[in-house]
Symmetry: C2
Subunit: 339 residues, 2 copies
């Protein structure tokens, strides 16, 4: 047992010559205390450096004002931005974030279990999803859950995703009308929905179209270095692509450098490169990557508003939400067929 030095409401009450209830009331906004007692308590509290124990309080009021946040993806700067915004938004509403990291879907249940033990009021899960059993536990515990970049029909939880299939079709249309013929699909983490759904849509569109097809599909290629190497490898293959669609911007930038610097290719004339995420660097002068701008702010807004609403009204039904991504045309894809 540690030496204990924190002052309690008891001591404040003693010094102020009032009851513990009076102390409690002065620190409860909107409770009825006379100005006289309030002053006495506030003075005593200041003198002793008293600060109510939020945890003891939570035991009684059945709300910790803590939100559990599980992060399963850190690669993409995109997620950092989310983390920051979540923190700021909830902080402004008087909540704090209890942060846990999970390697993948596999670790999510452990993280959620831990957060549940800490009695979080709500749960935000970024880029991963809990098992059905765990989701049910959350529901039984009355803890609302919002899934970011994941969704599941069998799980009763709100979700925020973006319409990846539509974006896939948009990309395909763009490449087709610019006269590209041989598309390669590069996937990062094979578990991340965004890339998968988008690639599926492109495959489907390619199957329907003619003159243009998917000539390669690689997976597990994530980050600048991996991208740079991947394009070099592709050029050793029998059939070289003339367009590469990539499920993360850093990877796409690596491909861009690999193509230009290592392979001495002209982009976008000989090769088109499309990214995903629209990270700041993609707009930088040396790159000017054509990519997909993920509606981060909109997604964050949806998630925050939904969770807050569920916190207010526990009866509310969870709902799936979709934000609209946007194709950003820059210089790594040509606009019309070559002369």
């Amino acid at each position: 047992m540690k030496p204990y030095n924190k002052v309690t409401s008891h001591e404040v009450a003693a010094l102020a010559g009032v009851s513990r209830s009076a102390v409690s009331r002065t620190f409860t906004p909107g409770a009825s205390v006379s100005v006289k007692t309030r002053e006495k308590v506030e003075n005593a509290a200041r003198k002793l450096g008293y600060r109510p124990n939020a945890l003891a309080r939570s035991l009684i009021v059945r709300s910790t004002r803590m939100i559990g946040l599980v992060m399963a993806e850190w690669q993409n700067p995109f997620y950092t931005r989310m983390l920051r915004q979540f923190s700021e938004r909830f902080q402004a509403e008087g909540y704090q974030l209890l942060l846990l990291t999970s390697a993948s879907d596999a670790g999510v249940d452990d993280a959620v279990r831990r957060l549940l033990q800490y009695q979080v009021d709500g749960l935000l899960i970024v880029s991963a999803k809990p098992s059905e059993a765990m989701a049910e536990e959350c529901e039984r515990a009355g803890t609302p859950v919002v899934l970011i970049n994941r969704h599941s029909p069998v799980i009763r939880a709100s979700s925020v995703t973006c319409d990846n299939a539509q974006i896939g079709r948009d990309i395909f249309a763009m490449l087709q009308s610019a006269g590209y013929r041989r598309v390669a699909l590069v996937l990062g983490d094979p578990g991340v929905l965004t890339g998968i759904e988008r690639n599926a849509a492109i495959n489907e569109a390619a199957a329907a179209g003619k003159d243009i097809r998917v000539v390669a599909e690689i997976s597990g290629c994530l980050g600048y270095e991996a991208g740079r190497q991947a394009v070099i490898d592709m050029w050793k293959a029998a059939e070289r692509p003339d367009a590469i669609v990539c499920s993360s911007d850093p990877t796409a930038l690596g491909i861009l450098d690999g193509a230009r610097l290592d392979l001495k290719l002209a982009v976008p004339e000989e090769l088109a490169v499309v990214g995903l995420g629209d990270i700041p660097q993609s707009s930088w002068g040396a790159y000017r990557l054509t990519t997909v701008h993920l509606p981060v702010d909109e997604m964050i807004n949806l998630a925050v508003e939904d969770l807050l609403a569920h916190l207010e009204d526990p009866q509310l039904e969870p709902r799936p939400m979709t934000a609209r991504a946007r194709l950003v045309h820059r210089d790594s894809v040509r606009v019309r067929p070559e002369a």
Copy 2:
């Protein structure tokens, strides 16, 4: 009051036909319970979906296994990396992070106060420092504090910094021996120690040396776009620098693009650019920025080990720690004077 649905040790005890203490003991590693009771309890617990309330527990054991983390800087990817690593490391030790954001030093006290109310076992403050009064409160509360990238002689808290002055001298020596003569210093957030100390050291070295001097010092220039604009502005000034030392990599990359793309300057022949941070992009082929590699991992290790040690032994004295940064020579500074 919300509808309440969480199962307590009481119900488990009832179903298992034992006392609440027996339940507590089965969930306390290393307590003495017979296998028979343990089994009965575990069965009952599973049946009811019981999970001990970590907060009620913390009230008794006087430890929440929560670490408060205050983040005051998010611009630099460097800090994201820290956040992630802190989360993973402490999670592995059975701690969780309670995350708060603070705009600047001004907001830190509020954040710390809040975290103290949540009875965090320890406090990590990144790139900001609390007031002396608040630091004293932490001490009185017996909550160890580790400051990252800040230190203060008047505050009793551990701190992890890197030897910015030494790095400043190294940079100066590099520029001098390569024959650069007119140095410009670009500062981001004027409150961040790293840049300030480094610039001070460069100024000092310049005052002592001859033939080479500091021709400009600008402040509040943070991020790619700001950097790109800043170099354009500099070229309109009476005296143009031939070397720019920058206190953040993204800014340096903006300067690089501004110099090459907008001003059509030859780097490193006509202009040297030095960054700070060594973010991944700095090593990318299109940039190859000469910069300072901050010893992030070492800093994280020092911080984690120190905090863990203080958590173990509250009597331990706080201590200042310094990690050694390293100059990374790439292609944005020439090695020897031009012929």
